[in-house]
Symmetry: C2
Subunit: 334 residues, 2 copies
């Protein structure tokens, strides 16, 4: 067996020293042979996701804190390189919770073979994995956009946002993205087929959003928070639905996203629903079947930012939290 390498959480962020790559430490370890029922997976791709930032804190949250001294958790796809589990053969390509490391051991739970005829393996960390199912659930189970309604999605070119907007478009909505910078906005309009995309870094963002949503906002799929979220909320239409999926731009380091005036929620009889996809296992089969059909037919597009090598993971992670990625953020480990 080769030696394993991985990042552990060495220290937690503090008020004095905000989160950064210094909180992680690269460690080497021996790889034990699998016990009965176990497999060893060589991780090919690691998914970097905003929820990991929450787990770095030792505070009550929906995700339990990452234990200090253990490999950072994360979903991976890779190849079975040793097996004592009858469900898996050598060379099988699987998705598992392999963590920020080169190899992982699994007892087979939470590990499943993936179908490379539909899409390349790393798509199972994006459109066909947790981000895609998250988008599907927020769009169909919370917002339920109707034809002709206006649907706004933030982090519009991100792993979740790009799929959410395209699913809303398939449902017949007018889709307006919110993204950071002209390049992402052009991609949302040109490649993803959104009707409009507004740059939240522009000084005229508030007016641009208003102009892009002349009939108001019927559905809001929120991934980011901060001031652009407050602006979207101000434009809600009667009976608007807001799927609150993430607040990546705020909160982790003590800069909370506030909603300056709750009256809009009352006057517009709006619904705001916070959600975490791990609460909704019932959505996975239906979501994955539908997403798989859309991927096979070429109807869904997405983009990836791939960091090269395990040692690039910490910097890629913090860059993503600031919007430095363009599409699904992955780390290629092989």
């Amino acid at each position: 067996m080769p030696r394993n390498q991985g990042y552990i959480l060495a220290t937690r962020p503090t008020r004095e020293q905000p989160a950064g790559p210094h909180n992680f430490r690269l460690v080497e370890s021996d790889l034990a042979a699998p016990a009965e029922g176990e497999v060893i997976v060589r991780n090919h791709y690691l998914s970097l996701d905003p929820y990991m930032r929450g787990r770095m804190n030792d505070a009550p949250s929906y995700a339990s804190p990452q234990p200090l001294g253990e490999a950072m958790t994360g979903r991976t796809v890779g190849e079975v390189v040793a097996t004592r589990n009858a469900r898996f053969g050598l060379g099988d390509i699987v998705a598992c919770t392999g963590g920020w490391q080169l190899f992982c051991k699994s007892d087979g739970r939470d590990t499943r073979k993936i179908n490379l005829k539909i899409a390349p393996m790393q798509a199972y960390l994006g459109v066909l994995g947790m981000p895609g199912v998250t988008a599907w659930h927020g769009v169909h189970e919370i917002i339920a956009p109707k034809a002709g309604e206006t649907f706004v999605v933030s982090a519009a070119t991100g792993a979740v946002g790009a799929i959410a907007g395209q699913l809303a478009k398939i449902a017949g909505a007018r889709v307006v993205g919110v993204a950071g910078g002209p390049e992402k906005c052009a991609f949302a309009r040109g490649e993803l087929g959104f009707d409009a995309c507004v740059d939240h870094r522009s000084a005229s963002f508030g007016e641009d959003l208003r102009d892009a949503c002349p009939k108001g906002v019927d559905g809001l799929f929120e991934n980011v928070g901060a001031e652009p979220f407050a602006q979207s909320m101000r434009r809600l239409s009667p009976f608007a639905r807001v799927a609150l999926c993430g607040l990546v731009a705020s909160g982790y380091d003590g800069t909370p996203t506030s909603l300056p005036d709750m009256r809009v929620v009352l006057e517009k009889r709006a619904k705001i629903q916070g959600f975490i996809i791990s609460d909704h296992m019932e959505s996975w089969p239906k979501a994955q079947a539908e997403l798989g059909e859309h991927v096979k037919s070429g109807r869904l597009k997405w983009r990836e930012t791939i960091a090269d090598g395990l040692e690039a993971a910490p910097a890629a992670f913090f860059s993503m939290l600031k919007g430095g990625n363009f599409g699904k953020q992955l780390v290629k480990l092989v």
Copy 2:
């Protein structure tokens, strides 16, 4: 026919001159005999409700603005004193949208005979009217409290809050009221049967609320807004449901209720649903039937503050907006 008297909206509030009794003017007019299909009702009780404050503004809201120069709108109960409508006889006791005046004319729409065997007529402006149905809808259609859950209701002794809390109690929840002052809190505990009631005027409100909700808040029926609302939000439990029914403490005069940190909505996967009962006509028959049963059996209690005479209406209205009432605010007109 006697002469009619009523309050019209003479001027609108401005930033310089906030809303007050000076915005109304008492006017006299002749009462024309009813035309074919019409009835004349002598109003016995007028209901004063917070939504009327919103209608004083000429701004987009869920309620269309009150036209200047017309009698202030409002629900009333009274006696048919002239009729050319076959559905109504002289002396019938009816509920109608009779406004802030001694008499009103109705074409029979929005007017219905009420059953005095269940409760005295003014109950049809409270527990058996719009406030009661509002409470029922928020409790059963939005929050759906389960046995053992903690249910918090603000304006706990008010027309809506008192009924909401008792309905949640009937559903098996642990009910915690939020009210202004020790007298109201004692009434909520002693008469309404709430498990606890916290005084939002107390300096220790935040800690008192925490102590009253040791397991967090599963359901929040919010009528008031401002700082107590933000405090209740901070204590939400996972999968909490918030029925946003009113923000009477804020917003009308430019002091909005903010939600300082949206992260709680995400982390607790909470739902916030703004609602206005006039959107939910489907709830009325079921709500009124259930409320009527509870009233007949003596299970529901409520309290009224009755202002004496039409000319007391403006002062009573503004007192109510500041919490000066104790229970359902009525004006006795006869």
